[in-house]
């Protein structure tokens, strides 16, 4: 099958996640062609055809315009699949392209299965197989699900002119907040999730962190609810950590949280739900009420 891969470029750089698209194409045994709004100076290491629009002329984020460019390439190449990374760029653009082509869209694919694509659902607790019934399919792949592959070589570049127009104006980027705590340096991180129940209970999690000589981490809802400051957040939109010990207290294990901590040497999870997806990465899953188990563990450590 012929697959149009949509590369990603941000703040002047080709993003590494672009290579995961080749990982998908490799597994699917597809013939890849790439489209990207990017720069001549940042070509992917790939010997096939690359349709390139200049980011300086088109803007790095201008979905109306990028959609139009993709549709032009689709017309020329007639691919069976159009594949994006499931990222803030991909999930924004993919549905627009899918509707314009009236093609089925399958989001956040984790594996290619006979008869369709496997995707997560119910916050990562369950899986579905989705089968498109249209001749063309738009796909977004889960970040990290397909190993990145650098095919090597220099692309044959077809330059695309900026179509102009578009109804959105990109104002600019805002850098990530300054980090007060550098969790990346911590040897032990004890993180509070929504399962701790309320803001007052965070102190109990912090006490375990202290008893273990580590830092306090947090999942996103705990930060959004202002129970813990943002610079303690672990995950795709927080910090990426790999301590010797990571303790997840009342954290379900959503993919965006796992992305930030799954490389930890040893993962201890405390959850009252033994089916919580955190169990997939945890070395030890304690099935208990976090407010009973954590103080008991802290007390025993103090002895």
């Amino acid at each position: 099958m012929k697959t149009l891969l949509i590369g990603e470029f941000r703040e002047g750089k080709l993003l590494d996640s672009t290579y995961e698209l080749f990982g998908f194409a490799g597994q699917a045994a597809d013939e890849p062609v790439m489209f990207m709004v990017g720069s001549e100076t940042q070509l992917p290491s790939f010997g096939g055809r690359l349709y390139l629009a200049d980011a300086a002329a088109c803007g790095e984020y201008n979905p109306d315009l990028h959609k139009q460019l993709i549709l032009n390439v689709v017309q020329k190449e007639n691919p069976d699949r159009i594949v994006f990374v499931h990222s803030s760029y991909g999930w924004d653009l993919a549905p627009r392209v899918a509707v314009a082509l009236k093609a089925a869209q399958v989001s956040e694919v984790v594996a290619i299965q006979e008869g369709g694509f496997e995707v997560g659902c119910c916050n990562g607790k369950m899986r579905r197989i989705v089968k498109p019934s249209t001749p063309q399919t738009v796909i977004t792949i889960q970040a990290g699900a397909f190993q990145g592959v650098q095919p090597g070589g220099t692309p044959q570049v077809t330059r695309l002119a900026a179509p102009g127009g578009g109804t959105m104006e990109f104002v600019g980027y805002e850098p990530a907040e300054e980090k007060g705590v550098d969790l990346a340096k911590a040897e032990v991180i004890v993180s509070a999730g929504r399962g701790v129940g309320k803001k007052d209970n965070v102190a109990i999690i912090a006490a375990l962190a202290k008893a273990l000589g580590g830092e306090l981490g947090a999942s996103r809802p705990v930060v959004d609810a202002e129970w813990v400051a943002h610079d303690h957040q672990v995950g795709t939109t927080g910090q990426t950590v790999s301590p010797k010990l990571y303790v997840a207290c009342g954290i379900s294990g959503a993919i965006q949280h796992l992305a930030g901590m799954k490389k930890s040497d040893f993962i201890l999870a405390i959850n009252k739900d033994k089916d919580a997806p955190i169990g997939e990465v945890a070395d030890v899953l304690v099935v208990a009420d976090v407010m009973q188990f954590v103080p008991a563990l802290t007390a025993k450590l103090a002895k």
Binding site: Y61, P63, H86, S88, W91, D92, A94, P95, R96, V99, Q105, S107, G116, V119, G120, C121, C122, N123, G124, K125, M126, R127, R128, I129, V130, K131, T134, T167, M168, E169, V171, G172, Y173, E174, E187, V188, L212, G213, V223, D224, A225, T237, L245, S252, F266, K274, D275, E280, V281, D283, V284, L285, V286, V287, A288, F293, A296, L297, K300, L301
Partner: protein
């Protein structure tokens, strides 16, 4: 300003999910339902905008689903929406995002909303498709994954959340649609007086057949738990025993306890 907010009712995600008879979705028996978390941020933002614009504005909440979704609708009304549209659909869980977006667009096209709010994704399906598809079908501007929002003189300024905590700021004219991300605001709790007031608000019921004109483009062929990777050790039982077991494991397997 005419405003629409689209909400989905989803099961409590701490539930145990069992496949239904056709093995295409979960069995609905014994599940408790709530408003999709992302949609709570959407409702809050819509209500804030409604309050800013005052009496000249009107805020409709819309949900597609069986009778149970009226619970979620009532919560949105108690948070401050003016009226509700319940699109009655017993088979909502078999619809693909394309059909859901088509149904909403059939309703919205007639009513010409200036601003539409949706969640960034639903927690059970998690497709992150309906919002952007709806905007595309209506031909309006759209910003997804929004963590900052303002609207002045018919110009929306939206802050999109990108990876690693970086944000992208963009502007667009109304009519427009935004999909709301976690942390956009702090959703209010409905107060008792507002819950009482909401009881008098209008809920318009429409059969889905009046609005659904499209076939699905994709089908679910299987619903199952992920293949267990194994490895992890499950520690169950009495708290004191669990503590002892965990301490022994930490001493044996990590270098952090001496």
């Amino acid at each position: 300003m005419k405003i629409l907010v689209c909400i989905k009712q989803v099961p409590d995600l701490e539930s145990r999910f069992k496949p239904n008879a056709s093995n295409t979705w979960f069995d609905e028996a014994d599940l408790a339902y709530r408003m999709n978390e992302y949609d709570e941020y959407a409702v809050e933002q819509a209500v804030q905008l409604r309050e800013e614009c005052g009496d000249s504005s009107d805020l409709t909440v819309l949900s597609i689903g069986p009778d149970r979704v009226v619970e979620a609708i009532k919560k949105a009304l108690a948070m401050g929406c003016d009226r509700a549209v319940h699109i009655q659909d017993q088979a909502v869980s078999s619809r693909d995002p394309w059909q859901i977006a088509s149904i909403i667009s059939a309703y919205a096209r007639e009513h010409k909303f200036d601003l539409i709010f949706t969640g960034m994704q639903s927690q059970d399906r998690g497709s992150a498709q309906v919002g952007a598809m709806l905007a595309e079908l209506l031909g309006v501007s759209c910003a997804t994954t929004v963590v900052g929002f303002s609207c002045k003189d018919n110009v929306v300024t939206a802050k999109r959340e990108l990876e690693g905590g970086v944000k992208g700021v963009m502007r667009m004219k109304t009519p427009a649609l935004v999909t709301c991300q976690l942390g956009l605001n702090i959703p209010r709790y409905p107060t008792l007086p507002n819950i009482m007031k909401a009881k008098k608000k209008e809920i318009i019921a429409l059969p889905v057949a009046d609005l659904l004109k499209e076939e699905s483009l994709a089908k679910t062929t299987s619903f199952h738990p992920p293949a267990k990777k194994g490895g992890g050790l499950l520690v169950e039982g009495d708290i004191a025993d669990q503590v002892d077991k965990v301490l022994a494991l930490l001493k044996e397997k990590t270098a952090v306890l001496r």
